[in-house]
């Protein structure tokens, strides 16, 4: 086991923490377009480049669509590529999100969660990245700036693993994390370099053209390959099946990378997939994503002080969804409140519906209630969250109806 390395503490907000991770991660190409609340990421990376503190190509593109397109081109050329966006920017990338995953390009993107238009709004909710949950990207939702830094570094290692080769989205709550100053521990640059190495290129066999030779999977004149051919009903499905299987293999890789990183940094987030807080003897728990789950810990402490057996579970990895794990863990409780900072109009919040699917048919499945909150950056104060916990406790006695509740709205 490696020893935890000595680290430098800096006062950084979430965006700056991501920029630092990019600076240290031997990224070759950054291609990004500014959008609030992601802008500090592109500003800081620009500072690093213009001061000569990092050697990367920063393509200051004319749109998010081109931002991700250029990342795909760079990744296909054998480079490590990064981009960052939010809300409408992510939506403009939508077409290329699917293509990035389908081409198996290990691009890493920070998504600073912001409510999608309209009406236009710049504050946090999760409907932007939730809209992209089916695009074939790994999704990691962070609780604070430190985790955004740690997860960005981990993301490159996960995405580039030959067993995975899928893009990763690291999300952080707009303003709540992106613009909030925090003490962040930074690993020494050489430690990050050693952890990640430079971008490796996988080798594949193409027997029809190159026989037994294993050729680099990149745009390379020595062994020319064709990326992105027309692919119809006779092969498309097999390629989708490969994507499905790569996502399944990602579980192990995410777990391993999280563990390896914990060994050098001394920081871990539960088991990498979920982070339970005071759940051991809890009767009811609240489950959710992102910065709200930091508030939830304080509320759990407060309620514990009143003698109530409550706990919280933060889901960190949303894709691939840790369904087996959650099925097992949540079956321990009587009632579960699900916090959704997003909504699928005409249905439930996305976390709730995914959890229902994961728990369907489980022998001791708990009752589950969906609480939609915080759209457009509406605050989730401790008081409101405490009330939600109390509603879940009450449901334990009175039953879960109604299972769909909207809180913090007029």
């Amino acid at each position: 086991m490696q020893k935890v390395v000595k680290q430098r503490m800096m006062a950084l907000n979430g965006d700056e923490a991501v920029a630092w991770a990019v600076k240290q991660s031997d990224v070759d190409v950054v291609s990004a377009y500014p959008i609030t609340p992601q802008t500090i990421i592109v500003e800081r990376i620009s500072d690093f480049v213009h001061e000569g503190e990092v050697d990367l190509e920063f393509i200051k593109v004319e749109s998010e669509h081109s931002a991700l397109s250029a990342c795909v081109g760079a990744a296909a050329a054998g480079a490590r590529a990064f981009t960052a966006t939010a809300a409408n920017g992510l939506q403009l990338m939508f077409e290329i999100l699917y293509i990035t995953a389908s081409l198996r390009m290990p691009v890493v993107m920070a998504v600073v969660n912001r409510a999608p238009s309209g009406p236009i709004n710049i504050h946090c909710d999760h409907n932007d990245s939730m809209g992209a949950r089916d695009a074939g990207w790994i999704q990691i939702y962070c609780e604070d700036a430190q985790e955004a830094y740690d997860s960005t570094i981990q993301a490159f290692k996960i995405s580039e693993d030959p067993e995975v080769l899928l893009p990763t989205m690291v999300t952080l709550d707009g303003f709540l994390i992106s613009h909030t100053l925090q003490n962040v521990s930074l690993l020494p640059e050489e430690v990050v370099h050693e952890f990640l190495g430079t971008r490796k290129v996988q080798r594949i066999k193409v027997p029809e053209i190159f026989g037994d030779k294993e050729v680099p999977l990149m745009l390379n004149p020595k062994y020319p390959l064709t990326f992105g051919p027309l692919d119809l009903f006779d092969y498309y499905f097999e390629h989708k099946r490969q994507q499905i299987e790569a996502m399944e293999r990602a579980y192990k890789v995410i777990e391993r990378v999280h563990k390896e990183y914990a060994e050098i940094s001394g920081r871990s987030y539960g088991n990498g997939f979920i982070e339970p807080y005071k759940t051991d003897d809890a009767d009811v728990v609240v489950v959710g994503l992102g910065s709200t789950m930091g508030t939830a810990k304080a509320v759990v402490d407060e309620l514990r002080g009143e003698g109530k057996k409550v706990g919280s579970i933060r889901i960190r990895v949303f894709r691939p969804f840790p369904r087996e794990l959650l099925r097992k863990v949540l079956s321990e409780f009587d009632a579960v409140g699900v916090l959704d900072r997003g909504i699928s109009f005409g249905h439930f919040g996305q976390v709730y519906s995914d959890l229902c699917a994961a728990l369907y048919g489980a022998k001791d499945a708990p009752m589950m209630i969906d609480f939609v909150y915080g759209l457009g950056g509406r605050d989730m104060p401790q008081k409101l969250l405490k009330k939600i916990f109390e509603e879940v406790l009450e449901a334990k006695v009175k039953g879960p109806e109604p299972v769909f509740r909207i809180r913090g709205v007029r």
Binding site: C71, A79, A81
Partner: protein
């Protein structure tokens, strides 16, 4: 004004046999002018190339999994982003070269020219934003527009590159409106307005002129743009044997003049320069129009005004170019 590289007709067949870049057996239609353009790009290479291809005819006809006609590294991502993908390849290549990243790996080379390849839809219309951005950012790449003057891949719908009067499935010849009522967007003007170092037009019929210009595009430091004229027998309703004839007539009628723009200075080339010096050699555009089914309605007596209007548009454009040309 293309000086320097002169295609060697004795060495070209050998070069293309050893390193074709693109193979025969792809599924382009008989008489496709755009497929000829691809071969001519390959003939003009000074070193290996990497192609970022927009969605469109050339993407579809050269690849259908598990087959590929390409023997050059090639990527297709989407319709509107060939220039952006090429920009990413350019940036990646620059960094990898600078860092000497794969210098120890004999299986990998990062020394190549970057080409973005797109049709008229992917350039005039949906891809214009990405193109403009990549030109402004001064990427080191050559953008080749193969212009077959409509969305041929989806079944002949009008684009910003469709000429006046042309029949397409979205500009049908009706009782009220006959063909496309508007004219072609001046795409080279738009590109040249970015003050890029090199832009040119090519017609596959004049292959020496074309090869010189493609080579110049490769050699340009910064962005280069080539507007290539691509006959589409299927979409234009022309005889497949007339592709080269039409590729000549387009130039001889001054509908598609050949020129290059070097650092914002215009120079006519080949037959267009000859016509500029001998105006009586300029053929009436009707000779060009009458061979094409897409203009058939214009040949009817009651629509003669459309031919006249077409001729006016051609003359207007030709006059503008003559005024700009430094070598006339």
């Amino acid at each position: 004004m293309a000086k320097g590289f002169v295609p060697n007709i004795k060495q070209l067949p050998k070069f293309m046999k050893e390193d074709p870049g693109i193979l025969q057996g792809h599924r382009a239609c008989a008489g496709c002018g755009c497929a000829i353009i691809l071969r001519q790009i390959m003939m003009a290479r000074r070193k290996p190339i990497v192609i970022a291809n927009a969605t469109g005819c050339m993407e579809v006809v050269t690849t259908i999994f598990p087959y590929t006609a390409w023997r050059t590294p090639w990527i297709h991502v989407a319709f509107e982003n060939a220039a952006a993908v090429a920009a990413g390849i350019d940036a990646g290549r620059n960094k990898l070269q600078r860092a000497g990243r794969f210098s120890g790996d004999k299986d990998i080379s990062v020394d190549y020219d970057v080409v973005a390849l797109a049709g008229d839809g992917g350039t005039y219309d949906i891809g214009l934003q990405a193109l403009s951005g990549a030109l402004e950012r001064w990427h080191n790449f050559m953008y080749v527009l193969y212009d077959n003057e409509a969305y041929m891949n989806t079944g002949i719908q009008r684009s910003g590159g469709t000429p006046f009067g042309a029949w397409t499935t979205t500009t049908p010849v009706g009782k009220k409106i006959k063909g496309k009522p508007l004219t072609k967007k001046p795409i080279v003007d738009i590109v040249v307005a970015h003050r890029i170092p090199y832009a040119a037009t090519v017609s596959p019929a004049y292959w020496v002129d074309a090869l010189k210009k493609f080579r110049k595009g490769f050699e340009t430091e910064g962005p280069a743009f080539i507007h290539a004229y691509g006959v589409c027998p299927r979409g234009w309703r022309t005889d497949t044997k007339d592709t080269i004839k039409l590729s000549k007539l387009a130039v001889e009628t001054c509908f598609f003049p050949l020129y290059e723009v070097i650092n914002s200075e215009w120079y006519l080339t080949g037959p267009s320069l000859t016509i500029a010096k001998n105006p009586d050699r300029k053929k009436p555009v009707e000779e060009y129009l009458k061979l094409q089914g897409r203009f058939r309605h214009m040949m009817l007596p009651e629509n003669k005004w459309m031919v006249e209007k077409f001729q006016e548009l051609v003359d207007e454009n030709w006059e503008i170019i003559l005024k700009r040309a430094k070598n006339v």
